[in-house]
Every structure is written in C-alpha cells, then in structure tokens.
Symmetry: C2
Subunit: 400 residues, 2 copies
C-alpha cells in the first residue's frame, strides 16, 4: 500500500515526469516525454482498419446492443411543481483498460458505451498497450474515442487520471479493471474522484435441472474457470447423479481445452451442492449474491422472480453467461464476492450525477416554515430558525 | 488510522465484549454486557410521548414531505422483452446518528425515511446517546424503528454494524455522519459493506441580486456558519456596494447571535466575490460544485438551468437552505467539497440495489451468437466460445 501511495504522491507532485519515469521502470519503455505515450488518432484508426470485416461487424453488433439496452434504462429527469430531480453527465470520464496477458476489446465497449449513452463527451483512456496497433485501440476507434488515449498502465496511470498532469486531463470518475496495483491505487484515490468498484475474482452460481445437456453446463463452468486461477463456480443441482455426470465430463473434456492449465487450477475453487428445497435454494442464491447467477431450469421464471441479490441474472439455456459477457447488452462489469448485496453492475446511469432543485413558493413556505423553525430551534440552530423566519416579509422580486 | 483499524479488528474478533470495552473506555459508560446498550421500544416511545404536540407535528410534517418526495423519484423496474432491470431494497440498513454536542432528529428523518420508502424492513441504529429519552429516539419511534437501536458510538459502532456481533446484526450499508473516528472507520469498512459517503465540512454557494433583503442573506450565511468552525460560504454578488452592505450587517448582527462563537470562527473561511459575466458565474458554479447552491436572483430560472454540478440547488428567496435542511423534502445528506461533480445526495434509491435479468430467446441467440463467438475467440477465451457454440442444438426443455 505504501509503495502505491508513493507512486500516487510522485505523480501528483511531479506530473508527466513521474509517469514517464515509472512507465519506463515498470513497463520497460524508453519514453523520453509524455507525448511519446499518447496514442494518435491515426494509430487508433489503423487498428480498426486492420480488423477483419467479420470482427468489425461483431464489435458493431455488440456496441449497438449495449447502446439499445443502456438507453432503455437511462433515468429521466423528474420535473415536479416545486421540487425536481435532474441528471447531468459527468464532465470527464476516465477508463483503465487492462493490457497484460490478453486484450479485452469487450471491456472497452462494456465501459465506454454506457458513458457515451449517459452523454459524456470528454474521455481519458489509459491502457498499458505498447503495440503499434491493437484490438483495444480498434474498439476505442469504433466508440469515437480518439483523443486523450495514453499507452500507460499501473498505479501511475490511475494517479494521472485522478489528479491530472500537464498532458493527461484530470477526470471525475475512473472505471475499469486492473491488477492488484491498479486496484490499490483506485482504492486510495477514491473520494478525490469516483471509482466504479474494486473487482474481486469472477464467479458464477449455476442452478440447473437434470434435463440440461451436461456438456453445455461443463462449458459454462470452463468459461468461468478460464478467466484466471481465482475464478470459481457454485454449481447447484437437483440430484447426485447429475452432479456426477458433470464431474465425469469435466474430467473427460479438460485435456482438450486450450486454456486447460488455468481451468485445472481454478476448478479447484468450485463448490458443487445438491439443493433439496426451493426455500433453501432461494436462501443460498441471495446469501451468496454471486456476480453471475445462471438459472437453467424448468421453473426458471418462478425462481428468478425470487432472486434479490445478484450481479446479473442469466435466465434460461440461451442466456448463458458467455453470451452476456459479449453481446446481450448489460455491462459485464459486475459486483463480485457478495457485494451485489449492496452494489450493482456498471450502467449508463453511473456516468451521471444528479441533484434536487428546490423551488419552494411563497404559499408553500407559509405552510411549512413553522415546522422548519421549530425543528431548528429544537436542534439549537438558531440562525437556521432566523433564516426561515425573516422571510415572512414580502418577496423582494417578482416571485410567485 | 492504525488506532481505528485496531478497534475494528477487535470488534471483528471479540464481538460484543470489544464493543462494551471500548464504549466504557471512550464514552465513560459502565456497561456490563451488550444488552445494557440496547435501547428498548419503551424508551423510544417515552421519548416520543415527552415531546410537545407542536414538535410532534413538525416531525410528522417533515416525515410526510420527505416521503412524498422520495416516492416521486423512486426508480421503477424496467421490464423488457428479453432484458429487464429490476430493483430490490437492501436487506439490512445501518444508521449512525451523531449524539455529541447536539442532537439532530432531522438527520434521523433525512436518512431513515428514504430507506423506508425504498422498502427496507430491517434497520440497525447506533447512536452515542446515553440519556433515558431524547429527541433522536423520538424521531426513530416516529419512523417505526424500534428494534435494534443501540446506544453506542464511535469506530466500535461502525465496526459492529459492518461485521455484526452476537447482539448487533450485520448490515449491508452504513449511513449517517460522525466525527473523525467514525469517518475513518467508515472508510476502512467500505467495500465489505456499502457506506453513504465521507462527509467533509458543510458549505454553501450563494448568488444573489441587489434587490434581495440584506438581512435575509446575512442569516443564510449565519445559518451555514453556525454548523461548526469548518463551515464556509461562497457569496457571489453583482456589485461591491451590495457586498459591503452584507459585510456591515454581518458585523452588526453577529454579537446578537446565540452561536456567535462558532459563527465568528467559521465566517473567516468565507469567500466573497463580484461576478461580472454570466459565463463566469456558470463556470464558477460548476467548478466549485458546492454542497448547497442557493440562487436568489431575478434570472434564477435561466441560471439554475445551467447548473450541472451541485449537492442540491435552492432556487429563489423562499427556498433558502435552512428550509431545505428540514422540511422541503430532499435529504440534507449531500456531497461536500466538490464531490457533487461525481456523486449525489442521499435518496431512497441509494437503499436499493439492482440487477439485469437477461433472458435471451432461441431466435435472438441465433442472431447474436456468431458475434459473441468471434469476440470470445479474438480475446482467446475459447471456453466462452464453446459455451456459446454448443447451444446450436435444440433447447433441452420447453423454452421459446
């Protein structure tokens, strides 16, 4: 924690010079100045042009579905006679796009598109991608984000977005996953700027009936397991015989998986249970409050209606998590480790802020002022009382 | 920070015993066990019965107005054909109600009523009030919160709610202001449970025209200043002569104020400016993003329409902040220190969580699966690809 705090302090006090220094030291670059890590609009466009037409079409389909969904849930201003509640997009949104072992253009779409739908117009993106072109850059180009993209990563990138440097604009909120240093830096700057969440290991809770094809569920488990070694699955089923079939097919299919090393490690985190009653099932679902809850069961409508706490609920055989990770629409940035009990997945509304506008009229003032005065007095806040009381005279200007 | 972390660790490992111990040590109590700090329903009722009918009526008026407003802004489920977004109240909400130099029943109403409107049914309240009866207890009684009220405070109260003890139920979210130890404890448990926000010193930005009665504005400034020594006002006006009048009346009226010592100390934090252009004004408003923005000006409609970032906006002479602190309706728990640029005041919606329910049908699956498969492959997540691809066979059960 101290090391990360030192990086943040250095970026705050020395700006670009510290970002250059830490990036050269930790990421093996030879940047001489901050302009060297700016990703030009040309590089972003070249990344897009380089993609196959099929992959371009897939990214466009995904973007369109995310947009349509996010528009459908975007809050509308509540305009009341005397009190309104109004929304405003954040002025500047910052994104951290991981770029280590793998590149995740889907994460670009799942974080940037909600911000676009919210009405955000100023974007800052940091990503530790040092290649000339990349599918991450291509996804940014598709989103129209071509200014203020910087090929930097780690805690120094988070600090630069939180406090700004000569080159990197200060943002109001930082979104996106990262490694342990990134997560710690986000935790430390939280409050000075907003952050989306601190993501823990990914998890899925599957509840399936005995009629579901075993191999489909095995691939759902493998899909969860291939993320990283800390990923895990809670599999709830109705009979031991079905659980045994799953176990047997996991063993049979594992050796054929391309990411079998990661899968083999992470499936040791899995929990398999037989659930006897519906009450027990619902209690488990809401207690675990898993990031992904996948219900593939003849009674799925009834069960899902009782789920209160989940990152996202995937109902039915054709709504497996993997399709939700890419093209269903809702963001795949979801609360983990039971935090769905009190937090929700990223949406367009998370890129807005809101405030009440209170416009009490003279007649209403006359009705409610006595209550306000009495409470102020009871709390010993006498100037509050006077500030209310003094307005018993007429209004100074032409107000209803 | 270390001291607070130690308190939290002790409460986590030793439960009630640590809460009793710290409360006796820091708050001068002689509790022998945890039942000693439970506030009985009888004590809560006695506190209510003891209030004057006028004060009871004032609390009821306030509660009714908060309820009406919060209902008007409560989010409704979005039920889509294949994707829905649904809300659920938090299972257990926790409240910290300060009880030091003064008692603030308005804070009880401004935090508990939004949770009631959200549909929360389980409440835990901690408050360092050790009297037999109090107006804080009365406000809780009015809200129907009579179980799990505990007369404890400080970091140990926050830790007890965050992790639970034998006597104090674990909560999902902790709301309410407190001293520096409480604020630090909230910061440290954040993530294990949700917290509302870390409140900084209170502030107001006033923009007034020259026709507003000078004394009304002076009392608005005093009302802000009487909170505590760190409170502050930004006063923006149109002419030096008006600013001079304000300064003269502050000097004249200060000696007559009951809380003059606090006021005298905190008005030294104030900033007074003459604003020349509308553009300049709007830029200042959105840059400062004050907790309270009070616009009392002949062009107030036009100006307020351009405010993007504020804790709450008070428009007009009869919507002074003091009335908003008590009876307007919106919660007075608001973001401070510029954090309104990325966060909002407490509402009923903050006591709910939400999740998408994704129910992709077979026909939609056929349309979007290829895009999902291609992106999974591009990201090297081959089991994701297989989990999507394997469902090209027929559905196992009767699903549309």
């Amino acid at each position: 924690m101290l090391a990360v705090q030192n990086i943040i302090n250095d970026v705050r006090s020395q700006g670009d010079a510290a970002v250059v220094d830490y990036t050269n030291r930790f990421d093996g670059q030879n940047y001489t100045n901050a302009e060297a890590f700016r990703v030009s609009p040309d590089r972003l466009k070249a990344s897009w042009d380089e993609l196959s037409p099929e992959l371009q079409a897939s990214l466009k389909t995904t973007k369109a579905r995310i947009e349509a969904y996010e528009r459908s849930i975007l809050y509308q201003d509540m305009i009341g006679e005397e009190i309104s509640y109004v929304y405003h997009p954040l002025e500047v949104a910052g994104f951290y796009i991981p770029g280590g072992k793998a590149l995740y253009p889907s994460t670009v779409l799942m974080t940037v598109v909600p911000a676009l739908v919210a009405g955000v117009t100023n974007f800052v993106v940091t990503t530790p991608v040092f290649a000339d072109t990349s599918i991450t850059f291509a996804a940014l180009y598709l989103c129209g984000v071509t200014d203020n993209v910087f090929a930097i990563g780690g805690a120094q990138a988070i600090a630069a977005m939180a406090y700004g440097t000569e080159t990197i604009p200060q943002v109001d909120k930082i979104c996106g996953p990262g490694n342990a240093f990134v997560a710690m830096a986000k935790r430390l700057v939280n409050g000075d700027v907003a952050i989306d969440a601190i993501a823990g290991p990914s998890e899925i809770l599957l509840y399936v009936d005995d009629s579901i094809p075993v191999d489909a569920i095995v691939y759902d488990i493998f899909a969860q397991a291939e993320h990283d070694q800390a990923a895990r699955t809670f599999l709830l089923c109705e009979s031991q015989s079905f659980a045994d079939k799953i176990a047997a097919r996991i063993e049979a299919l594992l050796p054929t998986q391309k990411r079998r090393d990661i899968i083999q490690a992470s499936i040791t985190n899995n929990h398999y249970s037989i659930v006897d009653t519906r009450e027990h099932l619902i209690a488990i679902l809401n207690e675990i409050a898993a990031e992904h809850v996948s219900i593939q069961h003849r009674d799925q409508d009834e069960i899902v209606a009782q789920v209160q706490y989940a990152g996202a609920v995937f109902k039915g055989y054709y709504a497996m998590e993997a399709i939700g990770d890419y093209v269903a629409g809702p963001s795949h940035v979801l609360p983990t480790g039971g935090t769905a009990r009190f937090s929700h997945g990223l949406t367009s509304n998370d890129f807005r802020t809101a405030n009440a506008v209170i416009n009490i009229q003279h007649a209403t003032y006359d009705q409610i002022a006595p209550a306000g005065e009495l409470l102020a007095e009871a709390e010993g806040l006498y100037a509050h009382q006077a500030s209310i009381a003094i307005r018993k005279a007429e209004s100074p200007y032409d107000e209803k």
